[in-house]
């Protein structure tokens, strides 16, 4: 397999100056180079992270002080309503915040930014298998970006039916202001994101299978690459279902089919058309994609965290193969648990029991991963760099996010906490306290490779400290709100007798959320400053083992200045009998040295 690498590209003997110079547009805009595309993804998604974060703060503002004027920006945004968020706009906020965060930030920053940048470097290839397809996968995000922005300015405003887009609220145009036009733009935006992801996933699978350097067997791949590989497989299998569902909803809205609209429906005095459809069909199709998508949003972060933990624990990864098998197990089980989003949907309750059992079982591989991460830290020599702190916090926070899932998986308990803030706490612990912290760690860890300069470690630690404190202040009390029955997506819960006493806690959370948002200025300032003025990194600033650290920082076109040959797995730290505490994958063994045994 690995011999295929040599023949597949003409420029194997990597001579960065030897290619035709593609000019400014070819180098930085319509680039075919996986590193530039990865960095394009990184900057675009970070920009959307800011947008999504501001939308989220709008939600938090309303939950803390409903129907009050937002300071400073209220008058600019909501001049018509006296500086307040209107209930219509609030439903757009709770729809567009997750849509932006999931489809424009988390999925593309993991697969698009880190996947693109790291896969060829870590498998020892000079680029992706299909560079043009790779470029298209980035540029297909732009129609989605533009559609999402435009949707705020069409009649009725942006989509306002939740990021899950449940019919009939979405399929019937009279059901809500956002369903007039915004929903159509939202659907097309998601279709473009799906096409982009699909092109990426085909590319990643092919590159990982076909273009590994000589000696890079599958079981010598770093966990990041295993996670990216499994994620690409998940995308490839799940996305067609979502795309089909999105088109079905487009047809329901635009040409009057009734896939999701039952017979005889009259919404706001207007007949919803012929009918004969079933709203639950959408939920099945949507979650058949969107549950695997939950793992698409966490597995790459798990992989990155595994790599960061081993580098700074100066110890081999504990249980490499169990880690690989549990990722694969999560992916496999991920396809048979979608019904746990639908326990209260009106789906046959007997089916609920089936999905409950499979859902319980998917907690198992996650538990195995946590134990192995802890095993990796045990007995090491930990170096508390910024990426390490973020990686350790991923482990700590993922324990919370994993365990809170068991409450929802238990069908009777779900009767009470379904669609309350308990689930909101759960997915923020997985996706913000988990994935986002992993992503921050990844940025600090691979920034030197991306740009050739180090980020400031002290500022990084302050950024970590503040983010860690405030994220817990924002998200942990959500569990308590959920136990109190506090419902999601309410513009003003406090006129309900049951929830009125929960307002002070919400105000505390909003203050934490605003502080957390402000703390991110440190990240962006650090990135911006280090990009130009950070100390030069050199090839291997962390003394790490995997192949990307063999290439120059930043790597030139074609990546490596010599064909990498892989002699061992990526986690050989503190190997007995060596005078350094690391043993890079590319370093030939000394004459007469025994190759390391195959580990489980």
């Amino acid at each position: 397999m690995s011999t295929l690498v040599a023949g597949s590209h003409a420029h194997d003997d990597a001579h960065p100056g030897g290619h035709a110079q593609p000019g400014f547009f070819g180098t930085y805009v319509f680039s075919l180079d996986h590193k530039v595309i990865g960095i394009q993804f990184l900057f675009s998604t970070l920009l959307w992270l800011v947008v999504g974060g501001l939308l989220a703060l709008g939600v938090r503002w309303q939950l803390a002080w409903p129907w009050t004027e937002m300071p400073i920006i209220g008058k600019m945004l909501f001049a018509g309503e006296g500086g307040q968020i209107s209930p219509e706009f609030y439903t757009m906020l709770v729809t567009c915040t997750p849509s932006v965060m999931i489809f424009f930030v988390i999925i593309p920053i993991l697969a698009g930014a880190f996947g693109n940048f790291l896969i060829p470097l870590m498998v020892g290839a000079d680029d992706m298998a299909f560079p043009t397809l790779n470029m298209l996968s980035y540029w297909f995000m732009w129609p989605a970006f533009i559609l999402m922005i435009c949707s705020f300015f069409v009649e009725g405003g942006a989509a306002a039916a939740g990021w899950t887009g449940y019919p009939t609220l979405t399929a019937v145009k009279t059901a809500s202001p956002g369903s007039m036009n915004g929903q159509t733009l939202w659907l097309f935006a998601l279709i473009f994101v799906g096409i982009s992801s699909m092109m990426g996933s085909v590319n990643y699978m092919t590159t990982i299978i076909q273009m590994r350097a000589p000696g890079m067997t599958m079981f010598r791949l770093p966990m990041t690459i295993w996670a990216m590989f499994i994620t690409a497989v998940l995308q490839a299998f799940a996305l067609p279902v979502l795309t089909a569902a999105l088109f079905m909803q487009v047809l329901d809205r635009l040409i009057g089919t009734s896939f999701f609209v039952p017979e005889g429906l009259i919404v706001n005095g207007v007949s919803a058309g012929a009918g004969g459809g079933q709203p639950l069909l959408w939920q099945h199709l949507f979650w058949f994609y969107s549950h695997p998508a939950v793992y698409i949003m966490i597995l790459p972060a798990m992989g990155m965290v595994s790599d960061i933990l081993t580098t700074f624990a100066r110890k081999p990864l504990f249980g490499y193969k169990p880690m690989v098998y549990s990722i694969s197990g999560i992916a496999g089980l991920g396809f048979i648990v979608w019904g746990h989003h639908m326990f209260m949907s009106g789906m046959n309750p007997a089916l609920g029991t089936t999905f409950m059992v499979s859902t319980m079982m998917i907690a198992l591989p996650s538990a195995i991963k946590v134990f192995n991460w802890l095993g990796t830290l045990w007995g090491g020599k930990l170096q508390f760099t910024t990426p390490m702190l973020f990686a350790m916090s991923f482990v700590s926070m993922f324990i919370i996010g994993g365990l809170s899932g068991i409450f929802m998986a238990a069908t009777p308990v779900d009767i009470f906490i379904h669609d309350t803030y308990f689930i909101v706490a759960h997915f923020h612990y997985v996706l913000f306290a988990g994935t986002a912290m992993g992503v921050f760690g990844g940025i600090y860890y691979w920034f030197p490779k991306m740009f050739g300069r180090m980020m400031n470690d002290s500022v990084g630690k302050v950024h970590f400290f503040l983010t860690f404190i405030f994220l817990n202040g924002t998200f942990y009390p959500m569990h308590i709100l959920g136990v109190g029955g506090f419902p999601r997506r309410y513009a003003d819960p406090y006129h309900w007798e049951t929830f009125t006493h929960l307002q002070p806690m919400n105000q505390f959370m909003t203050i934490c959320a605003i502080s957390m948002g402000l703390s991110q200025i440190l990240l962006f300032a650090n990135m911006g400053y280090s990009l130009f003025f950070g100390p030069l990194a050199g090839r291997n600033p962390w003394n790490a083992n995997s192949l990307e650290w063999m290439a120059p920082s930043p790597p030139g076109h074609g990546n490596f200045d010599a064909q990498p040959i892989v002699y061992r797995g990526p986690y050989e730290y503190n190997t007995p009998g060596r005078d350094t505490d690391f043993y890079p994958q590319w370093e030939p063994p000394k004459p007469g040295e025994q190759p390391p045994p195959d580990h489980h």
Partner: protein
């Protein structure tokens, strides 16, 4: 710095458990349970809370201890060079698997009781959710729904105490969710599908009826009340309803009379 970061990570289990210990005393907790089945749900909740609490504290404490103990700046003992342990992997695969399987089996009966064993009785009331109100339809003297003598009401769901209540749940337009926090009942209302919901109130009182599925801009104000009263008060209220509706119109059309009091 290892000790500092260790303490920071120690705050996670300490404050995490602390907040859950404080919340019940500060009334930030499960609403009062007024249903006959709610104790099953609450018991499972506490059971899982206790179990996950233990499973939460142990690895978090381990993480704290490793950060405290194995700080590279102070740890002089050699790194424990290992690629893993087959025996440990087996232990920490089988133990959680058995625990999870146990939780799965342990809760099955509660789910069956609450959602699958539909009582064999006539419907007490039909609840039709629509943007943004709860339309209620009680059977008239003939005891059957869908006949001429049906009684209409909005947002105030009266039910008798200590009797099984069987609700026929419908939606007129979009998805809604019939959520009675104090009754530990939640069920989506789906347009085009009637879904039976049953519960047995055990205490007289008034509580919120909440819509728990996003149903449009007015979702947050789709407010109903459940009024649990004695059999006599309930019958009196039904009789009053019947008297009012029979004097206002001969053949009440649902859409016009529903909102009138």
């Amino acid at each position: 710095m290892g000790k500092f970061w260790g303490v920071l990570f120690l705050t996670v289990p300490v404050l995490g458990v602390g907040l859950f210990a404080w919340a019940p005393f500060a009334n930030h907790w499960l609403p009062e349970d007024v249903s006959s089945h709610g104790h099953e749900i609450d018991h499972l909740f506490y059971f899982i809370l206790g179990l996950t609490g233990v499973v939460f504290v142990i690895p978090e404490m381990a993480l704290f201890w490793f950060i405290w103990r194995y700080d590279g700046a102070t740890n002089t003992s050699p790194v424990k060079f290992t690629h893993g342990s087959h025996n440990l992997e087996i232990v920490w695969t089988i133990l959680p698997a058995a625990t999870l399987l146990f939780i799965a089996i342990y809760q099955m009966n509660a789910w069956t009781d609450i959602k699958m064993n539909k009582p064999d009785m006539a419907y007490t009331v039909e609840v039709t959710a629509r943007q943004f109100e709860w339309r209620l339809r009680y059977p008239g003297p003939d005891g059957a729904l869908g006949t001429q003598d049906d009684l209409y009401h909005v947002n105030e769901l009266h039910v008798p105490v200590d009797e099984m209540v069987l609700v026929k749940l419908d939606s007129a337009d979009v998805l809604h969710d019939f959520f009675l926090p104090h009754m530990r009942i939640k069920q989506d209302a789906v347009p085009g599908t009637s879904i039976p919901v049953w519960f047995k109130p055990k205490k007289i009182g008034e509580h919120d009826l909440v819509c728990a599925e996003l149903c449009g801009w007015g979702h947050y104000k789709m407010k109903g009340r459940i009024i649990i009263e004695s059999r006599e008060d309930y019958d009196k209220w039904l009789a009053g309803l019947q008297q009012r509706q029979n004097t206002t119109s001969d053949a009440p059309a649902a859409d016009e009379t529903a909102g009138n009091e």
